[in-house]
């Protein structure tokens, strides 16, 4: 699917987005459209701006110029989006590198909090959804435990269930496996793989190149705040056209 013919139906559309941290130009004229059901993987070196890019989509980062539209809601520069931002956050789920589970709440309460407080669901409905989602990510037997009693991999799967409980139209993943011990990366990637198979729209920032190649419909390489190259995974990994992409991949794929 090419960008031009489908821009009207894109669930995420970024146009000429620029972000500065003081004198640092973190995002430079970012143009990106993501279609419903598409799995987009963003790769790039640390500090390239890839995390900042997806954090702009749900307003965790402000941007200074350009245009971001998510599911028909428009974000305005300088964080003055108000109601639209609230709507976007209700429809967009996010999984963080550090899980960010609520340590004072049980696993179940972590999952039911937002549906009850934001969507206004009854406790029974929220609990039912929580059970179903925890089952799906393979931790239904841990629902009464507290997050710190779980392994990193289990915590990240709870975080995924928590985000899914809001029935998001789009999921953002910010290096979801970077804080995990190696033996736990697989279980989290499996859960994400399944989600992709079910047709969830996903934007994933990751260093897991094998996973990117396998699940991505499109891979984007970000270099110093710019989208240097975007293409199908086979193209990016096997025959990258941009010299910067080639150099980056030769460094990360070597070992």
């Amino acid at each position: 699917m090419t960008q031009n013919e489908n821009t009207t139906t894109a669930i995420v559309r970024m146009e000429k987005v620029n972000k500065h941290f003081g004198s640092l130009h973190v995002l430079k004229d970012i143009d990106l459209a993501v279609m419903p059901g598409e799995v987009v993987v963003i790769i790039g070196a640390s500090g390239s701006g890839k995390s900042t890019l997806i954090r702009c989509i749900n307003g965790l980062e402000e941007f200074q110029s350009g245009h971001i539209e998510v599911d028909g809601n428009e974000l305005t520069p300088h964080g003055k989006s108000g109601r639209a931002l609230q709507k976007i956050r209700t429809e967009v789920g996010m999984v963080f590198q550090q899980f960010n589970l609520f340590p004072h709440l049980s696993v179940r309460d972590n999952v039911t909090l937002a549906p009850m407080k934001v969507r206004g669901w009854s406790q029974e409905d929220a609990m039912e959804t929580a059970e179903r989602l925890l089952e799906r990510v393979g931790i239904s037997d841990q629902a009464d435990k507290y997050p710190t009693q779980l392994s990193g991999g289990q915590q990240q799967r709870v975080a995924l269930a928590r985000a899914l409980a809001m029935e998001p139209r789009l999921m953002l993943f910010d290096e979801p496996t970077s804080a995990l011990d190696p033996e736990m990366i697989g279980e989290v990637l499996d859960a994400m793989r399944e989600l992709a198979r079910e047709g969830m729209t996903m934007i994933i920032v990751t260093h897991e190149m094998g996973f990117a190649r396998e699940v991505a419909d499109r891979v984007i390489y970000v270099h110093q705040g710019e989208i240097a190259e975007e293409a199908a995974p086979e193209t990016i990994f096997d025959s990258p056209t941009d010299e910067r992409t080639r150099s980056f991949l030769s460094r990360v794929l070597k070992h």
């Binding site: 963080f96 934001v118 710190t148 985000a163």
Partner: protein
């Protein structure tokens, strides 16, 4: 000059019934003051970290003034100074409670600020990303966690305030030290009586420490 001193245990123990009436006063002033101080602390502590300058400024001013001046001066100001403006006297109990309230309130404001600021940024980000409003994020996620972290410094402040009430003997409120002074005036057994006064303070603060430790341990579940 005769320097041999015999500690009179009998005198020490017999003073206790005369000191005990001071205990409820000490407890009333400290816990009454601390309860109000806690409310003040929450309000000014949150104002202190508000993004709005006109809320931050009065909070900074209040904290600096009441943390930066002696509590003895504060209670004298309230008890002897304020009546000049009000045109009527303030009773010693009210003055004592008010002094503990405004003084502990300043310290507790900083405890509240520190507690809230100690919660990792990711907690707020996760809350917002789930669609919670900033108020909901604070109420359901940040505050409950901050409150737990505030237990040790709040306990610390409670112990300090309990001991500070001893200064209020100067305005004649019948707390522990005052009761001791009255008793010593007739028996001249200062050593014995002040030791018992000290023991009674220790009994109160130690009990509080134990209760706080239990509260903290219970609060640690799920951390």
């Amino acid at each position: 000059m005769d320097v041999t001193f015999q500690f009179d245990w009998a005198a020490a123990f017999s003073s206790i019934p005369h000191l005990l009436p001071g205990v409820p006063w000490t407890l009333l002033i400290s816990f009454g003051g601390l309860a109000i101080g806690f409310v003040i602390g929450i309000i000014f502590g949150l104002m202190r970290i508000s993004p709005l300058f006109w809320l931050r400024l009065p909070a900074i001013f209040y904290i600096e003034v009441f943390r930066g001046t002696p509590i003895l001066v504060q209670v004298l100001f309230i008890f002897y100074g304020l009546p000049q403006i009000l045109g009527e006297p303030i009773n010693a109990l009210t003055a004592g409670i008010a002094a503990i309230a405004v003084n502990s309130g300043a310290y507790i404001s900083e405890v509240v600020r520190g507690g809230v600021q100690s919660i990792e940024r990711g907690q707020r980000e996760a809350s917002l990303s789930l669609g919670l409003s900033r108020t909901q994020a604070f109420r359901y996620v940040i505050w409950p966690q901050a409150l737990r972290r505030m237990i040790p410094p709040l306990g610390n402040q409670a112990i300090i305030s309990i001991k500070d009430t001893s200064l209020f003997s100067v305005i004649g409120v019948g707390e522990l030290v005052r009761q001791g002074q009255i008793y010593i005036a007739t028996t001249f057994t200062a050593m014995e009586v002040y030791l018992m006064v000290a023991m009674l303070y220790l009994a109160i603060t130690w009990t509080l420490s134990i209760l706080l430790r239990q509260l903290e341990r219970r609060g640690l579940v799920g951390q």
